[in-house]
């Protein structure tokens, strides 16, 4: 049963609460830039959890099978594989350094024993195969056990090699490299429901790839103006519809979302639907354009809704209604009066992501001070929780947090001015079926689960 924690749960029951499960990552205060987590993604079954970091590494955690001796505690996530996905590169032609930071990871649906995922940095997408090896062949005829070749003349008899078990080894190998298709920085990748194609989006273009073909991609959206001086908006995120393989959406820095149908034309510069909420003129400020820029867009699992995240709010849109969202949730409205300082310290450019739970009844997104927020769409309850080492005792229940926006600060409340803006939660993920969430707090990955009474 999916729901939201807090004083009251779903359907009036008070049972639902979030508990600390695990935390991954170093404890030191001194965080190396390369260790900062830049993306988090569960696979389709939820058994695998992948993280990418600024150093170009991918770490995959696997959920242990539930143990019969502890039926009330779910399986833990342990490291399954670690590999270097991207390295820093230098584009000599343009004298540009290409960061190795992993911008996005997307899993492919599993089709055989191996697992496949796409990982991307600013310029290059790679398809990685993660496979297990737990057997080893022994008894070769032409070589020794240590691999040295035998002298063929010394072989007097032939034998059939046999497979012997060995310690499990997980290997990650790059199977495809999709490069040189993006002039601008890639911000999104999305696997299509046909499991054969995927899209990659940069600031001005979206390309369609076939997973098997690396030397060609189709450009399906190009918003680059003939005259760069006429540029007014960029693409910020893109995603395929979960069921309709011809439909995708992309969001813009102007707070608009365009839904495109690849069957209507080869080049989807003209949208099929255009989602925009009219701006409230009374709230206009120097920073109106910045805070309306959409940082993430995600379809619901049902495919009927989509959710967008801008700097201060999360909005849920019905695909059938273009003129306004059906739901709007304020994430941290108390920051509206602080926009000037947030602009100065660059926090206003932070790109928060958002995610749905498996049943689309709840949504989650991050905030500052290692806070993250959950909204229950049915009960309209919301809760603020914190990912911190202090509340990291096994199965400790997370206490809801509250930010004091003015007036007298109550006990346990935090005032806006005490918020730590260096501790930001930009990346969160929700298990596709269960109430397990992964929250990336700088260089640490927190895993929380629901507690069943």
């Amino acid at each position: 049963m999916a729901g939201v924690a807090g004083g009251g749960g779903v359907g009036g029951s008070n049972d639902f609460q979030w508990c600390f499960s695990q935390v991954k990552g170093a404890i030191d205060e001194d965080v190396a830039e390369a260790d900062i987590i830049s993306t988090v993604e569960f696979n389709y079954s939820g058994d695998l959890l992948a993280t990418g970091d600024k150093g170009g590494r991918v770490v995959i955690f696997q959920r242990e099978q539930e143990s019969k001796s502890r039926p009330y505690s779910r399986g833990e996530y342990n490291v399954y594989s670690t590999f270097q996905s991207h390295e820093p590169e230098f584009d000599y032609l343009k004298s540009l350094e290409i960061e190795e930071k992993i911008n996005k990871i997307r899993w492919l649906p599993q089709q055989n024993a191996a697992h496949f995922l796409l990982s991307t940095n600013d310029k290059t997408i790679k398809l990685w195969k993660i496979s297990e090896r737990d057997k080893r062949a022994e008894g070769y005829n032409l070589k020794d056990e240590d691999g040295r070749l035998r002298d063929p003349f010394r072989i007097t008899a032939l034998r059939v090699p046999i497979l012997k078990p060995m310690d499990l080894m997980v290997e990650a190998s790059p199977r495809r490299i999709f490069a040189n298709a993006h002039t601008y920085h890639i911000n999104s990748i999305s696997v299509n429901s046909d499991h054969e194609t995927y899209l990659s989006a940069d600031d001005l273009r979206i390309n369609l790839w076939h997973l098997e073909i690396t030397d060609r991609s189709f450009n399906i959206v190009d918003i680059k103006p003939a005259n760069m001086e006429e540029l007014t908006e960029v693409i910020t995120a893109a995603e395929f519809h979960p069921h309709h393989c011809n439909v995708f959406v992309y969001s813009s820095s102007k707070g608009t979302i365009r839904l495109c149908d690849m069957r209507s034309s080869a080049l989807c510069d003209r949208h099929s639907k255009f989602f925009e909420e009219p701006e409230d003129p009374s709230s206009r400020s120097f920073f109106s354009e910045i805070i309306s820029s959409i940082s993430d867009v995600k379809f619901s699992h049902s495919g009927r809704y989509m959710m967008t995240r801008d700097y201060l709010s999360v909005k849920v849109w019905d695909l059938n209604m273009e003129n306004r969202p059906v739901e709007t949730y304020q994430v941290h409205e108390y920051l509206r009066s602080k926009l000037c300082s947030l602009y100065e310290n660059d926090c206003i450019f932070d790109k928060f992501e958002c995610c749905w739970n498996g049943s689309d009844s709840a949504i989650m997104t991050g905030s500052y001070n290692n806070f993250f927020r959950m909204f229950d769409r049915n009960t309209r309850r919301d809760v603020t929780l914190e990912a911190s080492r202090e509340s990291s005792k096994p199965r400790a229940v997370l206490k809801p947090r509250k930010v004091c926006t003015g007036g007298k600060r109550k006990k346990d409340e935090i005032s806006v001015d005490s918020l730590d803006f260096n501790k930001k939660i930009l990346h969160t993920a929700w298990h596709p079926m269960e109430n397990i969430i992964a929250v990336a707090a700088t260089n640490n990955l927190y895993i929380f689960q629901d507690k069943i009474n």
Binding site: K224, L231, V234, E276, E279, E289
Partner: protein, 332 residues
């Protein structure tokens, strides 16, 4: 009185936002991973908003002073005879103190009038020295924002564009006819070609000498103007080979013509900024040096193009003139 103080505060806020924004754009050039188009676009919006507020306040102030001194009518601030253009799309409705519905129209007029007042001496410079600045010599840079085409009306912010971010060279030409053309120079990151575009934009930079300041913006309804001159991009000593892809290796924009004083000034700016990369308090001065290098100093010391750049000398004037800011942005 209180209104005046609030106005002053918002002007100061606008000023600090402008310098902060310019600093961000400047530092983005050296950031790892290359210039982020999205971030720079957003910064340019803030810059535009702050600048518009600052300027509209400034010109409103000037207008008020004029009214005080010349209650019977101000010959200095004569509005041009031609009909005012439609509100440029780049002026969104900003919540200015004591704003009224017709504020936008009023500030447009004030801006034009004010520009005439301020740009008068500047535009008296010899025409051949009024050039769009040459490209910044930072490889791989491209300008993050540009103006929209003539969008419909000035209502709302969403269709507005950072339209003032282009270089405005008041190009008189020898015949004194069609001037007030603006030139923009952009580097296309895809093709690596530097393009100088001329178009008949209305720009507040136009000086009092040009009666055709008020060319209707509708003139721009056509698709983007023909690229005009294209020239290869020469960062420092290197040669960019990529430009040949476009077929036009050079449109003759570089060679020939009057001495390219702007390039000299730009080289100095580069040195200056390299020496003081973190000196944020001097950002205004840097910008004013840059701006003045092309018009301010030229007007004062026309014969002496080697005048050492003096930030203090040009600071106030540059702040007041639109051209300095726009040229600074384009340079970045």
């Amino acid at each position: 009185m209180l209104r005046g103080r609030r106005r002053m505060e918002s002007t100061l806020d606008a000023q600090s936002l402008i310098s902060i924004s310019l600093r961000k754009i400047h530092s983005s050039r050296t950031q790892r991973g290359g210039i982020k188009l999205h971030k720079n676009l957003l910064v340019s919006y803030v810059l535009r908003n702050a600048r518009q507020l600052y300027l509209s306040e400034r010109y409103a102030e000037l207008y008020r002073r004029q009214q005080q001194h010349y209650p019977d009518g101000a010959p200095l601030l004569a509005m041009p005879a031609c009909p005012p253009p439609p509100a440029p799309p780049e002026l969104p409705v900003l919540p200015l103190p004591a704003d009224t519905q017709d504020r936008e129209v009023r500030s447009c007029a004030a801006v034009r009038g004010g520009a005439e007042l301020l740009e008068g001496p500047v535009c008296a410079a010899p025409p051949e020295l009024q050039r769009a600045p040459c490209r910044d010599s930072s490889p791989g840079f491209y300008r993050a924002a540009g103006s929209a085409g003539p969008g419909g009306g000035g209502g709302g912010g969403s269709s507005a564009a950072p339209g003032l971010l282009y270089a405005a060279g008041c190009d008189f030409g020898t015949g004194g006819v069609p001037h007030c053309s603006s030139r923009t120079t952009v580097l296309d990151l895809d093709t690596h070609v530097v393009t100088t575009v001329e178009n008949g934009y209305l720009h507040q930079d136009c000086c009092s000498q040009c009666p055709c300041c008020c060319q209707p913006v509708a003139g721009l309804a056509s698709p983007p103007p023909a690229p005009g001159t294209k020239r290869k991009y020469y960062p420092g000593q290197e040669e960019e080979e990529e430009g040949v892809e476009e077929g036009e290796p050079g449109g003759g924009g570089v060679a020939g013509g009057p001495p390219f004083a702007p390039c000299t000034k730009r080289a100095r700016f580069e040195e200056y900024s390299a020496e003081h990369p973190q000196d944020s308090s001097n950002i205004s001065n840097l910008i004013s040096i840059f701006g003045s290098g092309f018009t301010g100093l030229v007007s004062r010391q026309q014969a002496d193009s080697e005048q050492p750049l003096n930030g203090q000398l040009c600071g106030k004037q540059a702040l007041a003139s639109l051209g300095a800011w726009t040229r600074a942005i384009v340079a970045f």
